[in-house]
């Protein structure tokens, strides 16, 4: 036995540190790291199940090539997904910042309003959401939000097909209004707590100096909440990409259920590399700007 008192304080403290994370680390090796490495190996192999045992044969990049060139569904879903994330993320960020600023003001029924905005968070991750949002291959369901009212309006004004591009964009937003509002809960919450961190004295000082609301927003609010904007962008990207309800993920599940382990792993890894690079790019870009 080593006497406890003879070990230096800092060493002892770091040993306790290891002690606290030991449970997580042993779990992570078994339930995360080993499966992760295995799936990487699978993606480079021909995998077959022989009398309960998995037989793995290395074949190089073949599965990746096959998935990217032959599986039309996969590549289609993948490009759709990337395009959707590219335009939806900024819309969600702007919407949630705007909503958070409204909810940060004082008015009657504020607590209720906040509770409603956070409500989607408890529903949106589940199967029920797909059904109640009418996203379940049933047409004519939630008809209220899928009518082409922008198109009708533009035609009424005499723009026959002239504003197709604008029309497309606006109606894309109108059609996806659910996806946007329903996926902004956490973002609104984070922006709210960021806004509450702006000291009252700063607000008073800027009012005395005669700052307009516009100036206050750009010169005080935005710098204060900037780290939260970055965090929210990253969160939104990860949230949309890792949502089990999205189509790419469903495609991976389909392949897995057909026991095409190699293909499924290659698909998942291509997807994961895209998530990693998009997230890394966001973080790097936002760091550069602040320098």
């Amino acid at each position: 036995m080593i006497n406890k008192r003879k070990i230096k304080y800092s060493v002892r403290k770091s040993l306790y540190g290891y002690g606290f994370i030991l449970l997580w680390f042993s779990g992570t090796v078994i339930f995360f790291l080993i499966p992760l490495v295995k799936s990487l190996i699978y993606s480079f192999s021909e995998v077959s199940i022989d009398s309960g045992k998995t037989v793995v044969k290395y074949i190089g990049f073949e599965k990746y090539m096959k998935v990217l060139t032959e599986d039309e569904k996969y590549t289609e879903y993948l490009t759709d997904m990337i395009i959707e994330t590219l335009w939806k993320t900024p819309v969600i960020i702007i919407f949630s910042l705007f909503t958070a600023m409204i909810l940060n003001q004082k008015f009657k029924g504020r607590t209720f309003a906040r509770a409603v905005f956070f409500l989607p968070v408890i529903i949106v991750t589940g199967t029920a959401y797909r059904i109640i949002s009418g996203n379940n291959d049933v047409s004519d369901f939630s008809t209220v939000f899928t009518t082409d009212f922008t198109g009708d309006f533009l035609e009424f004004m005499g723009f026959y097909g002239a504003g197709d591009k604008i029309n497309d964009f606006v109606s894309a937003i109108a059609d996806n209004i659910y996806g946007i509002v329903w996926n902004s809960g956490i973002q609104i919450l984070l922006f709210l707590s960021a806004l509450q961190n702006i000291p009252a004295s700063v607000r008073e000082a800027s009012l005395i100096d005669g700052a307009t609301t516009w100036e206050f927003f750009w010169k005080i609010t935005v710098p204060y909440i900037k780290p939260f904007i970055v965090a929210n962008i990253v969160f939104t990207i990860i949230d949309t990409f890792t949502n089990p309800l999205n189509k790419v993920m469903e495609r991976v599940s389909v392949m897995r259920n057909q026991w095409a382990f190699g293909e499924a792993s290659a698909m998942a890894w291509i997807y994961f590399i895209i998530i990693m690079s998009v997230t890394a790019l966001t973080v790097i870009l936002s760091n550069k700007r602040s320098d």
């Binding site: 770091s14 449970l23 992760l36 589940g126 509002v181």
Partner: protein
Amino acid sequence: MYKLRKYIWNFFRTVILICTEFIIMYPIIYMISCAFRDSADMNDPSVIWIPKHFTLNVIRDTIKAMDFGNTLKNTLILNTGCAIVQVLSCSVTGYGFARFDFRGKNFLFGIVIMMILVPPQVISLPLYTQFMNFGIGNLRINLIDNMLTMYLPAMSANGLKSGLMILIFRQFFRGLPKELEESAYIDGCSPLKTFILVIMPNALPAVLTVFLLSVVIYWNDFYTSSAFFRNTKTLGIVLENLDSELQMRLFGESVQLSQREKIVWQEAGCLLVLSPLLIMYVFLQKHFTEGIESSGLII
């Protein structure tokens, strides 16, 4: 002039809030309205919100098709169990990362971030084969269809969305004043004792938030549980398969119903699955948000 501007803004604010909140409430109200109407009402264009033929039969059918009592019991056991062990394991891990310095800490925390980034689909497949013969050497058992496939990862802070929860705890503990522990150390408390007696009582908002988030995530989970379960039913799995189940039990081969007419059963299923969550939310709404707000997540 200033007053007028204020009134106009108040008016617009109310309009904006009502519109967006309507978008959120719409599917929920519609779900409730559908669950209590006869399926014939779906083809009646004059019925939008208030059913003409009010009925409880649809709910009754759905309860039977989902085997609701048993499924609910299963889900509750799995849910609360996983949520409790996940809160414990994630808080311990988060504390280790927040308050101790050790070699390789940044690298190890990088793994936590990886856990957030890697979609569950990437690892679910090797996990499946791993659970199929789980153990070391010759001591191997088949864990598929066993609730341990959910419990074991949750116990070791590797359950659903564990990365995020470790992160929430880490941020929260970093925000607590260091004096809390220091005085305990001076009094001769060991770090583990300090953590249990001093830190945890001060971390109640974060504990509650993470617990509630865990309950919600496990409640809604379909993907992971359906990957490891065959005959064990949870609400998420049953709801996903409700359509085929109803087809078998209720409609049979002879009865032809359009997709639109089947919606009432679907919505009733959603209502049954969501109502415990919604009731919980009504009462505990504040605690859902408090921990995230006070930890100032990610910064």
